[in-house]
Symmetry: C2
């Protein structure tokens, strides 16, 4: 892991890093409280489709978790996103999927299949990021939380199911089509966000994903609005309290 740059704003230190992984260079970012030393719980953020590790909503979320809970927060780019090169295989599949949807294939099924395919690469990448971050002095090998909605849920469910270091997860805006089996293997506390008027994830699919989680503690939070609406600020407050309860 190489740190490439460092800046600070509003009490938050931001370090851009790069990590060698099997599939090449993994670009990432680490946020911690200014001046922090020693271990602290880490929250890994998964970004949405077409977004990247430093998209505005990601930055806002990271700052809230760092300043509100003293957490370390990290994010990496998904293949084909952010500072990563376009991926010819994924591009080809995306083009084929577009044609399938135009030919009448079910959008939710096509998205779910694609996310399951991408997850085969991101699950080991994100575990490699946890390995590297655990060796950073101001992060350490403490408990890990995961936050991801939409694509960050499609990739997050198999990650949380596979990664025993994750002790609590905020997921949402995703459905059961791709990942019901992995969801059943998740037993850590889950806060699950659902947009009641989601035009991309059928409501019954989202409810079925919530239903599938094997967790004893799992809360479903639904709010009105479409898939890409800005989540209510009180949900971010709730996410923070959720992580404070389970990671501290």
């Amino acid at each position: 892991m190489r740190f490439l740059s460092e800046t600070s704003a509003d009490g938050v230190r931001e370090q851009i890093f790069s990590l060698d992984v099997a599939s090449g260079e993994l670009p990432g970012v680490l946020w911690t409280p200014d001046g922090a030393t020693g271990p602290r719980p880490l929250i890994l953020l998964g970004h949405g489709g077409g977004q990247h590790k430093k998209a505005p909503a990601m930055l806002a979320r990271a700052h809230r978790f760092v300043t509100g809970g003293g957490f370390a927060v990290a994010a990496v780019d998904v293949p084909g996103h952010g500072d990563r090169p376009t991926d010819p295989e994924f591009d080809r599949i995306a083009t084929e999927n577009q044609a399938r949807v135009e030919a009448g294939a079910d959008l939710a099924s096509v998205i779910a299949e694609f996310q399951a395919l991408v997850a085969r690469r991101t699950v080991p990448e994100w575990s490699a990021a946890l390995d590297a971050l655990s060796l950073v002095e101001h992060v350490g090998a403490g408990p890990v939380g995961y936050w991801g909605v939409s694509l960050g849920c499609g990739l997050g469910v198999p990650f949380v199911a596979a990664e025993p270091r994750v002790r609590a997860a905020v997921l949402g805006l995703g459905g059961a089509l791709a990942s019901a089996d992995e969801a059943r293997r998740i037993t850590v506390p889950v806060e699950f966000l659902l947009q009641w008027d989601d035009e991309r994830v059928p409501r019954e699919q989202a409810l079925a994903l919530y239903d599938a989680f094997g967790s004893t503690e799992k809360s479903l939070h639904a709010n009105p609005g479409p898939h890409a609406a800005i989540l209510p600020s009180y949900e971010l407050d709730s996410n923070l309290h959720f992580f404070l309860r389970h990671l501290l």
Copy 2:
């Protein structure tokens, strides 16, 4: 309104009162911060079926809202409950309903019909309680919140729909059968609690009630467990923050 007794515990002043209403004497209780003077927002609590104004969960909730937010909190007994005489008409209907259920009638429908019947009495009683409490020096005529689940939701939906002084409501463990029309008339912020394994309120009926609320801000919070499970403590925290956002 006559105050009958006063005690204090853990920073909370508790005053038992009685109010003359059309249907007789309405027994109630008012909780406020010890030593409080002047107006403050009021939260009216509706109790569950077979419960009463001072049931343990009601007391715990009242104390949390008083000490956590400086609110005034009040509750009154539903007809046939607590310190109120048994009601021959309701007893007769309850017996008939029991026979209907044993003969195969749908339990949720029977409960819903009965709650709608009781609401015709409780809506004016609770508005009369707000009138009287608004004249109490340490309560005043400020904004009002409502909290009620199960029977407290079945009676609460028509009350919140009818009572413009209510600015925010926590409801839950109820279905759309009895009160979808009233729910559509509710436009204040709602936090709606749902038990995912509720054996008394079919899940689709509860989701339909959430769907029916006319509010721009409405959040559905679902958690695993049966109808009568103790609600997670983090939901009470969430309810407190919800009232702080909307009543202060």
